[in-house]
């Protein structure tokens, strides 16, 4: 961590970045995001097992963009999210200094191509717990799976925490908030909840960087991350593409190819 703080200090003092985004101690054992705008605020930065949040969710916010160039202490999930955001043109290439901390050492990446190269070096592995949960869901028959989600989603109270914590849910005007016409009911009830989560899953299929923040954000403990991660894994299986690995947009679900294996497209 000293190395990160040291480099961050240099960047701040030389005026290369206007702020450094990293983790600091929060309540209890939790870690919270921390913006250091002066070198003196860098001491609070920590890096340990409890730092899990995907910090990329902050860098698309207007308030952060307004600051100018920002350095981000970036775990692999954060790196993937940033690269995907750059591919989707939500971040300008070069607008961030990425301090990759996944190998113990600090590696500074300041362009999409550097990120792409860095991420290509290692395979993306799903954590064991999510993998097991997905396998359990996979083992169910369709009826059981339907009943499982009906039951889980009935607890949803439409707080949209899962949406707001997701780095890929960056739209200023979410279709869920659209009321002319109101396709998805706002109130928290069976069909409306199901529709919301189905739309969220489809919007993230092929774009989800598998950080799992949505599941962690849920105040009532619905494993909503399994929906998006499951969809992402399916896309990977079918099309061999993964979100957050390419500097150029490579989105399986909207790419028109005349040599598609499905005959209807011709």
């Amino acid at each position: 961590m000293e190395a990160v703080i040291q480099r961050a200090k240099e960047l701040l003092e030389q005026g290369e970045v206007k702020a450094v985004l990293g983790y600091a101690k929060g309540t209890g054992s939790a870690r919270r995001p921390h913006f250091a705008r002066q070198a003196g605020q860098l001491d609070k930065l920590v890096m340990d097992e409890a730092c899990v949040q995907n910090l990329a969710v902050y860098v698309t916010k207007h308030e952060v963009k307004k600051l100018g160039k920002v350095a981000v202490v970036a775990l692999p999930v954060t790196q993937r999210a940033i690269l995907q955001l750059m591919a989707e043109r939500q971040l300008r290439d070069g607008s961030l200094a990425i301090l990759a901390v996944d190998d113990g050492a600090v590696k500074e990446l300041d362009s999409a191509s550097a990120l792409e190269e860095h991420l290509a070096l290692k395979a993306q592995v799903l954590n064991a717990k999510d993998k097991a949960s997905l396998a359990d869901l996979e083992a169910m028959d369709q009826g059981q799976r339907w009943a499982y989600w009906q039951k889980e989603l009935s607890r949803c109270m439409k707080c949209y925490a899962c949406r707001n914590t997701c780095p890929m849910c960056y739209c200023d005007h979410c279709t869920m908030d659209c009321n002319r016409p109101q396709w998805v009911p706002v109130a928290s009830h069976g069909i409306g909840n199901l529709e919301y989560h189905m739309v969220r899953t489809m919007h993230l299929a092929g774009r989800c960087v598998e950080c799992g923040d949505c599941g962690r954000a849920c105040p009532v403990g619905i494993p909503v991350h399994l929906l998006t991660i499951g969809a992402e894994e399916t896309v990977h299986e079918l099309f061999g593409q993964r979100a957050g690995h390419k500097a150029k947009l490579d989105y399986a679900l909207s790419t028109f190819k005349t040599d598609d294996k499905e005959s209807f497209i011709r």
Binding site: Q90, C171, L249, Y251, S254, T258, D259, R266
Partner: protein, 663 residues
């Protein structure tokens, strides 16, 4: 409050026999917003349309629902009528009571109720309709013809004579196509080259025609009137401007044993070659796969011999992009090869040949100079068996269709053979004789009666070789299926006509539909036979279905007439059914977030970037913008957009929501 009129059509018996139209019209009067509802036997007829127009004026209607057949059939009719009556044509919608109701249901109360529901849905839609205005686009008055066979040449000449520029693209080194390979043509037996080569020269010399031989279409962007076509000019490996076509290089090329495509493998050619002496343009190409220089790095004899120093070994393919207003596809066909027939020896017997090989044997410019010699030993064949329908009308061979030209050319072949070998015997095995056409049946009768060709109705089950003879085992079904065994010297298979190689690829490049056999699909089998479903792209000849020369030429002139008709306009009017990205007042500007995922989804490259700038010139946002000229209104981007920032005009989110919610 809307003032909507509903006009229910009986479509004669089509709707009226199943749906109680009178009751439907009555029920529609109760739909909120409907101020006028009537039914009529034939709404599309003149009195029907007039009734609608009068009602629009009398009841001051601001929207119209015509409940009749499919909008594909009569939407333009009714929209035009509505427009003439003074309302915006796009305020007229059709409820499809025929295909969506009467044709698919039994007569009954529920069917009538469904008809009323369909109308109710459309009434809700019309309430949310907005007046739309046709989009005008300019027309580039240059046509491209793809394929330089007889069809392509005819299209090019007709358009050029109509006063417009034409680019004729041909993939082989010379124009002429299959017709240049033929010996004589049915039913007049006039020499194929004698009637074709003057046309080839005419095309080459026409001031309005640009020939691009040895070239292939690589990419097509744009839309009717405004295509951008990228053509790959394959490297001939010589400077066309310097080459005089003297042919010295061809004479001196040491590599002379290459199988000759023009002679269907019955002759040989050199590595630097022109396909045939009458080729247009008469400029050789180097076959880099077979040329000694490209294989070993040594030789260059042609370069040394060339009096004008035209040889360019380092020449590369060239990509040329052209602005084109209309495209005509005339890419022709290919013949099934003899190796597709296990029962006839998988093509391993040299004396079992296909129809085109026979043409070369019979042709004065062919490898035998027109003398009948069988390929294996060069002897004159005393007995020749012709087998019609080889592969055609045979589901097992994947060709259930009739190849159409074989009955006629088989009769022609048998006659040509008899004319050349007077003592010879010609047998034709056939399934049916299909000789419909001017002077066609007379021609076949002549073969049978005057030239004594023996026609046997039946199939050949097997051919094998024995003592230098081909034993043809068939059956005569007119003699009760009696087995027939003929010892032949040569067998000619009238193999099936198939779509050309890579036709599917080309269809995909041009976004043209094609059938399961790879033939390009016409827009309507009867009423729009030379148009494709893609506006501005037309068809001529055997790329659409098996065709003979007269039909190909007729269709070519038809396609040319379509192109000339298109070019008679200065600008084109297009349907305004296009997608639009919403725009709002500052500081929102649009709900588009500029992720450009829609850009990848668009099959027509219609989505562009638009920068919203502040007065200072600073870019505030980059948003998607849809080029209305390129957009085809498919709606793929609408479905892809996460923020629903894109709406399809005429099928907007609000319209669809209103339609659904009324049910």
């Amino acid at each position: 409050m809307s003032r909507i009129g509903v006009f229910t059509c009986h479509c004669g018996e089509n709707i009226g026999a199943t749906v109680d139209c009178v009751k439907v019209a009555e029920m529609c009067k109760d739909i909120p917003g409907v101020v006028h509802s009537v039914e009529y036997k034939y709404m599309c007829s003149d009195p029907g349309q007039r009734q609608m127009q009068e009602a629009i004026k009398e009841h001051k209607l601001d929207g119209v629902v015509v409940a009749a057949c499919s909008p594909r059939m009569h939407e333009p009719t009714f929209r035009r009528a509505a427009g003439d009556a003074g309302i915006n044509p796009y305020m007229c919608e059709m409820a499809n009571l025929r295909e969506h109701c009467s044709w698919v249901h039994e007569k009954g109360e529920a069917t009538t109720q469904k008809a009323a529901d369909l109308i109710r849905v459309l009434v809700e839609k019309v309430k949310h309709n907005e007046p739309l205005h046709p989009i005008k686009v300019p027309v580039t008055r240059t046509a491209m013809v793809i394929g330089g066979g007889v069809g392509g040449i005819q299209v090019a000449l007709d358009i050029a004579n109509g006063g417009h520029k034409v680019v004729l693209v041909e993939k082989s080194p010379s124009i002429g196509g299959h017709m240049s390979q033929l010996s004589e043509t049915f039913p007049t037996l006039d020499c194929s080259q004698c009637i074709l080569t003057p046309r080839m020269v005419e095309a080459a010399q026409h001031p309005n025609i640009t020939l691009m031989t040895y070239s292939e279409v690589e990419k097509v962007d744009g839309f009717i009137g405004n295509f951008k076509v990228t053509v790959r000019k394959k490297a001939r490996k010589l400077d066309e401007h310097l080459c005089t076509g003297c042919g010295l290089c061809i004479q001196k090329c040491p590599n002379k044993k290459i199988s000759d495509e023009f002679n269907e493998g019955l002759g040989t050619r050199t590595a630097i070659y022109v396909p045939f002496p009458q080729a247009v343009p008469n400029k050789p190409v180097i076959d880099t796969l077979n040329c000694t220089y490209y294989k070993t790095g040594k030789c260059k004899v042609c370069e040394k011999m060339c009096p004008t120093n035209a040889i360019r070994f380092d020449q590369e393919d060239e990509l040329v992009t052209l602005d084109i207003g209309a495209i005509v596809l005339a890419t022709g066909f290919k013949l099934m090869k003899t190796d597709a027939f296990p029962e006839y020896g998988y093509g391993k017997h040299k004396d079992i040949i296909d129809g085109m090989q026979f043409e070369r044997l019979a042709s004065a410019s062919g490898p035998t100079s027109g003398v009948m010699k069988r390929p294996s030993d060069g002897r004159s064949p005393e007995t020749v068996v012709f087998i019609a329908c080889s592969g055609s009308r045979d589901r097992a061979k994947g060709v259930p269709y009739c190849s159409k030209i074989c009955c006629m050319y088989t009769a022609k072949h048998a006659m040509l053979y008899k004319h050349k070998v007077h003592s010879g015997k010609a047998y034709v095995f056939y399934m049916d004789i299909r000789a419909a056409g001017k002077d066609y049946d007379e021609f076949v009768r002549r073969a049978i009666e005057e030239d004594e060709v023996k026609y046997i109705r039946g199939r050949v089950s097997k051919i094998y070789e024995e003592d230098g003879k081909l034993i043809v085992m068939g059956a005569d079904t007119l003699m009760g299926g009696e087995p027939v065994v003929i010892k032949a010297d040569m067998v000619v298979l009238a193999t099936a006509v198939q779509s050309n190689d890579r036709s599917e690829e080309l269809a995909q490049t041009l976004h043209v539909s094609y059938d399961s056999y790879g033939f390009f699909a016409e827009a309507h089998p009867k009423l729009r036979p030379v148009e494709t479903n893609t506006a501005g792209i037309f068809l001529a000849g055997a790329c659409q279905a098996p065709r003979d020369i007269p039909e190909t030429v007729a269709q070519a002139s038809g396609a040319a007439a379509k192109v000339v008709g298109l070019f008679s306009n200065e600008e084109l009017t297009r349907e305004p059914i296009v997608a639009v990205v919403n725009r709002q007042a500052a500081p929102v500007y649009s709900t588009c977030v500029g992720c450009f995922i829609c850009q990848g989804a668009c099959p027509y490259q219609a989505i562009e970037q638009e920068e919203i700038m502040a007065r200072s010139g600073e870019v505030i946002m980059t948003l998607a913008r849809i080029n209305p000229g390129l957009c085809q209104g498919c709606g793929t981007c609408v479905a892809t957009c996460r923020t629903k920032a894109i709406d399809l005009q005429g099928f907007s989110n609000e319209q669809l929501y209103a339609e659904l919610m009324t049910l």
